[in-house]
């Protein structure tokens, strides 16, 4: 069944697909975000779940004029006990982020003390240039958390990095421990989430551990 591209079912599935795509293809030098939904259709599969077919436009967060088309398929499983399946194909090439990635990698590798930071962006929305890759890395990694926890009734977005701490490693990977705040659009809740993120320019981003944190009571 064809859906109007602006319908909430379409936009929720699209947000999920974009999050997964961003996780798989993103890096501190390349963040992707959903620009538009071109087409969407939904299919109810008896005994399995709901399947969406989507045509999306994504934009590069570091260069808003750079967009890319992609098609995606999202399958929400009945009962929502298993994370949704997402498959996608990107048309064309994504911008090369090798240089930006390497600069960030070398910068962190050469730090004497482990990187620590809070509130990115700050209350006014500012992110310092040095923190931009740290912000993007969280954006990419949050794609994993969003993907794994989405249902037809949720729409997540990274709201803010509350805290980030680098964890020194003996191997070539960089490791960061993040506490992020996710905004869930339907319930309007702000959900703190901890995630351990591993990254290497040649090996992509990996979330090795994550856990939902208790929301501070409405005080």
């Amino acid at each position: 069944m064809e859906l109007p591209p602006g319908h909430y079912l379409a936009t929720r599935a699209a947000a999920l697909a974009a999050a997964c795509l961003c996780y798989r293809r993103g890096s501190p030098g390349r963040g992707l975000a959903l620009r538009a939904v071109r087409r969407a259709s939904r299919q109810d599969i008896d005994g399995v779940g709901q399947k969406y077919h989507l045509e999306l436009v994504l934009e590069d967060l570091l260069d808003k004029d750079s967009t890319v088309n992609c098609t995606a398929e999202v399958l929400y499983h009945l009962g929502n006990n298993i994370p949704p399946d997402v498959q996608f194909t990107i048309e064309g090439e994504l911008k090369n982020a090798e240089e930006a990635d390497n600069i960030f990698y070398n910068r962190i590798k050469s730090l004497e003390k482990e990187l620590v930071a809070e509130n990115i962006p700050d209350s006014h929305g500012n992110v310092s240039p040095e923190m931009e890759p740290v912000h993007l890395l969280a954006w990419v990694a949050s794609g994993y958390v969003i993907w794994q926890n989405s249902t037809e009734n949720t729409k997540f977005q990274l709201a803010q990095i509350k805290h980030v701490k680098q964890v020194k490693r003996s191997d070539e990977y960089l490791e960061f421990d993040y506490t992020i705040l996710l905004h869930e659009m339907v319930s309007q809740e702000i959900i703190p989430w901890q995630m351990t993120v591993l990254w290497h320019p040649q090996h992509g981003v990996q979330v090795t551990q994550d856990s939902r944190q208790p929301e501070h009571a409405s005080e």
């Binding site: 967060l61 006014h124 705040l181």
Partner: protein, 384 residues
């Protein structure tokens, strides 16, 4: 202070000038050093204000001709300096609309705006918040003998949506700065009155500045002060409590203990109810998402004037896009976003206000609620 231009003609004049400079400690601009003063060469001296007359008299006495190069040094300095922002002096000419302001500053801004534009603007008492703060709205109204229809706009019903109050302030400034010169705006004001509520949820807004940037609700205490806040946009009397809400105080969409249970809701509802026969359009400004939303949230059944509502909204979205290419999605909340009940916009429509819209401003989620200040101007300009 003045700067004098002298071309000494003789060695005697040079000597006199050198003496004058050293005795009175005058500031040599050209040349830098007294010993470099030569007959036939340009001399520029800055003379402090209290000494100007004395110096000129002395030059006259010695038949040394001079010209005044700079009659007022301070004036030149002032002109060349960028205007300094003072956070304590809230003069709207100095008010920075491209920054977010705390509530204290917004209160002062409202007072100043009325003072500086008293022929057009009046500040009105609306009510009190749960923490007993005063709610004011601004009425922009061109004096005339005919009763005019009203456009109501409120901002900041949700504390964390900072771009919303920023837009209301910008809107007021734009109207007041341009109503004489812009024919569209002046025609507007001939036929319509504008009622602007810059911050509806004052307590929440302050809380988001001081304690929790991502706070949404108001600050009403529940359960013996163990839980705070009602979602004001679920608290209006439109299918209250039916869908898209929580009855639990700890939720961000807690609808309150009953319709209009919150003083902020009542303050707005009472005024709008009183004036409803004259209100043509109800606008409520939120963020984020880039939507122009029409009734309803509680049902997908379209409102009676749905076609006209959509038509106007689509035109608005097109005009908005024309500015910076920003795309806004248009449609009913129940189709585009989610189901909800008790929203101010739905209530306004059900009591008979024909054009009722919720604007969700920039962006689409990359920054979300924490929109950086460099986006204030483009967001406001396109929405204008």
């Amino acid at each position: 202070d003045q700067v004098l231009h002298i071309v000494p003609e003789t060695f005697q004049q040079v000597q006199h000038l050198q003496q004058l400079c050293s005795t009175l400690l005058l500031d040599l601009w050209k040349p830098q050093l007294s010993e470099d003063i030569w007959a036939g060469e340009d001399l520029h001296i800055r003379v402090p204000a209290p000494l100007v007359q004395e110096v000129k008299d002395s030059l006259d006495q010695h038949m040394i001709s001079y010209k005044v190069l700079i009659p007022d040094v301070q004036k030149l300095v002032d002109q060349s300096m960028p205007r300094e922002r003072s956070s304590h002096r809230q003069v709207p000419e100095g008010y920075v609309y491209t920054q977010y302001h705390p509530m204290e500053a917004i209160y002062q801004w409202m007072t100043q705006i009325q003072k500086n534009n008293s022929e057009l603007v009046t500040q009105h008492y609306l009510g009190k918040t749960i923490e007993n703060r005063t709610m004011y709205y601004l009425q922009i109204s061109q004096p005339s003998d005919k009763t005019k229809k009203i456009i109501w706009m409120d901002c900041g019903i949700h504390a964390r949506e900072w771009i919303s109050p920023a837009f209301c302030q910008w809107f007021v400034k734009e109207i007041l700065q341009n109503y004489k010169s812009d024919p569209k705006i002046s025609r507007f004001l001939q036929n319509l009155d504008l009622y602007i509520l810059p911050v509806l949820n004052i307590d929440g807004y302050i809380y988001s500045w001081e304690k929790d940037r991502l706070w949404r609700k108001n600050r009403s205490p529940h359960m013996n002060g163990t839980c705070y806040g009602t979602d004001l946009n679920r608290n209006f009397n439109s299918s209250w409590g039916s869908i898209g809400v929580s009855y639990n105080c700890s939720s961000e969409i807690f609808c309150g203990s009953g319709p209009e249970s919150e003083p902020e809701t009542r303050a707005v509802a009472q005024l709008i109810e009183r004036k409803k026969s004259d209100i043509l359009c109800y606008l409520t400004i939120h963020s984020y998402g880039q939507y122009i939303l029409t009734p309803y949230g509680s049902t997908t059944k379209p409102p009676s004037n749905s076609e006209e509502l959509m038509h106007v909204a689509k035109q608005a979205a097109a005009a908005l896009m024309g500015k910076y290419g920003t795309s806004y999605e248009v449609g009913s909340t129940s189709l585009i976003l989610y189901s909800n009940s008790g929203s101010s916009r739905d209530w306004a429509h059900t009591i008979g206000i024909p054009f009722s819209y919720t604007f969700e401003l920039r962006d689409k989620g990359t920054h979300g609620f924490v929109l950086p200040p460099d986006q204030i101007q483009p967001t406001c300009e396109e929405t204008m």
